[in-house]
């Protein structure tokens, strides 16, 4: 009768040692549209393709500022992302109030990591159906972190999550060595090129469907870090960047043969658009 007896809740292992609910949650992340993040020595950028559910509707936002120095990009269930983003905003404010400084990005990411992991270990709970890229700057410089519904978090130099993100990752892997010394504009262009790799045929980046978010950190003479606050650019603010990567030859970085993941952009479930 049941296809799978071991996916009813997130506390039961299958005989193969898998927890299906957690794997399904990871699958929800792959349904979301693609987001790319890159960190250099001075900046952390996030870029994303927004989707609209239908022609008449607006585009669902993908990038969210959390605090002065941190922002997130989401792929997966938007409503779950909302919960995590509210939590992160509160923690950042609380930290600012009690310590008078920006919360270190790792500390923040560890907190959502623990929060998400608890959901995979309690009966009656379900994992978050959303993956995040967290980009921010603190006294240690710029950081990029990946967050998965399993509660796994990892620091990344560059990463992409969401539908067909393997193509973007292939681009990032090819160009990894260049990122560290990129300036702000170059870093954004790398992000957009990676994003383009992941687009389906005959879709392209437009001012309507593209979001860019940047945070910067500049070392000052007295050893302190001047934070260039995380800011999201949408609409006509991104036109120049899109234009600047428009005439790149398709697949000139040789990412054309990336494995893909086979899921593509699927209709159905209320996944972020």
């Amino acid at each position: 009768m049941f296809r799978n007896n071991y996916d009813n809740d997130s506390v039961t292992f299958s005989p193969q040692g898998r927890i299906f609910q957690v794997e399904y949650a990871a699958e929800a992340v792959k349904q979301g549209s693609v987001v790319v993040g890159i960190a250099s020595k001075t900046h952390a950028v996030l870029v994303a393709v927004k989707r609209n559910a239908e022609e008449l509707s607006s585009y669902q936002k993908k990038l969210f500022p959390i605090d002065e120095h941190v922002g997130i990009a989401i792929a997966g269930l938007t409503s779950d992302a909302r919960v995590l983003s509210n939590f992160m905003k509160q923690q950042c404010l609380g930290h600012r109030l009690t310590y008078g400084r920006n919360m270190p990005v790792r500390t923040l990411v560890d907190m959502i990591g623990s929060k998400a992991q608890i959901n995979t270990q309690h009966y009656g709970k379900r994992p978050y159906g959303v993956g995040l890229l967290v980009a921010g700057v603190d006294e240690q410089g710029p950081h990029l972190f990946e967050f998965q519904p399993s509660g796994m978090t990892e620091q990344m130099m560059a990463f992409a999550i969401g539908a067909r993100s393997q193509m973007a990752r292939t681009y990032l892997e090819k160009n990894l060595d260049k990122f560290a010394d990129c300036d702000r504009e170059e870093l954004i262009r790398h992000g957009l090129r990676a994003l383009k790799e992941s687009l389906v045929q005959d879709r392209e980046l437009t001012v309507d469907n593209t979001s860019v978010g940047v945070a910067g950190a500049a070392k000052q003479d007295d050893g302190s870090t001047k934070v260039d606050p995380f800011k999201v650019y949408d609409g006509h603010d991104v036109a120049a960047w899109i234009e600047s990567v428009a005439d790149d030859k398709e697949g000139d970085a040789g990412a054309g043969e990336g494995e893909g993941e086979g899921e593509g952009e699927t209709e159905g479930m209320e996944v972020d658009s």
């Binding site: 020595k41 109030l97 009690t98 310590y99 008078g100 400084r101 270190p104 790792r106 500390t107 603190d138 006294e139 240690q140 410089g141 950081h143 620091q155 560290a180 007295d222 050893g223 302190s224």
Partner: protein, 274 residues
Amino acid sequence: MDHRPQAWGRPRDDVYGAYDASYLHNNGPKTATQSPIVTGTSVIAIKFKDGVVMAADNLASYGSLARFTDVKRLRPFLSTSVVGFGGDVSDMQFLDRHLKELATDEAYEHEASSTTTDEGGSGAGEGQLNAANLYKYLSKLMYRRRNDFDPLWNQILVAGLDAHAKPFLASVDLRGTTFTSPSLATGFGAMLAQPIMRRYAATEEDAARLTREEAVNVIKECMKVLFYRDARSLDRYSIAVVTKDGVELSEDEQLEKQSWAFAERIRGYGTQVV
């Protein structure tokens, strides 16, 4: 036979009269220190060009009894800051344990971030809680405890460098009152040492002109005056200097070149007839 647990082990009413059980019915919030028991006296500190000097004697008094003579009341934090405690010693020990925990957590997080970032992040104490951060935290903690009607009976000085590597010195007390100044003193020091320190560092500009040596000498002079005039003080003391290079803490200093000649000219109290 009275079977109520409250009555167990109590003197018999028929022999000793009705037992006063009022203290057993304690309504109201749980409280710890409602008055200090074992206390430390003044802590004094002054800013100079590249840092801050702080000192406190090594005495813990039990009322007017000089009960413990080797109590360390200056505590370095993460080698970036020094915290000086006046007031109740048990509350100081609580805060000391609490700060040790905070420092451990902070050191672990710092280690985790700096091993994963490539080359960047070299400066000592970079990204760790600085004195200003620590002070903000302590002031919130003190104010929270006073709002719980369970204050930590201390006045605390925090010294170190702020985010811009400028000397930082500030005070918080058991009521959560916060203030800052180029020189600060707690307890009797506020009356006896502060006027002396203000002669050398009345303003931030004056403090920024003081050398380390001058600042240390001012502090030593003040400790001597405090020993002369504060009956709850000791001639052994700790002195700490915080600069960008870290904390130099000496916990066994002895007051030098004392002169009690002034004592015979004091009139107005004691055994002498004016």
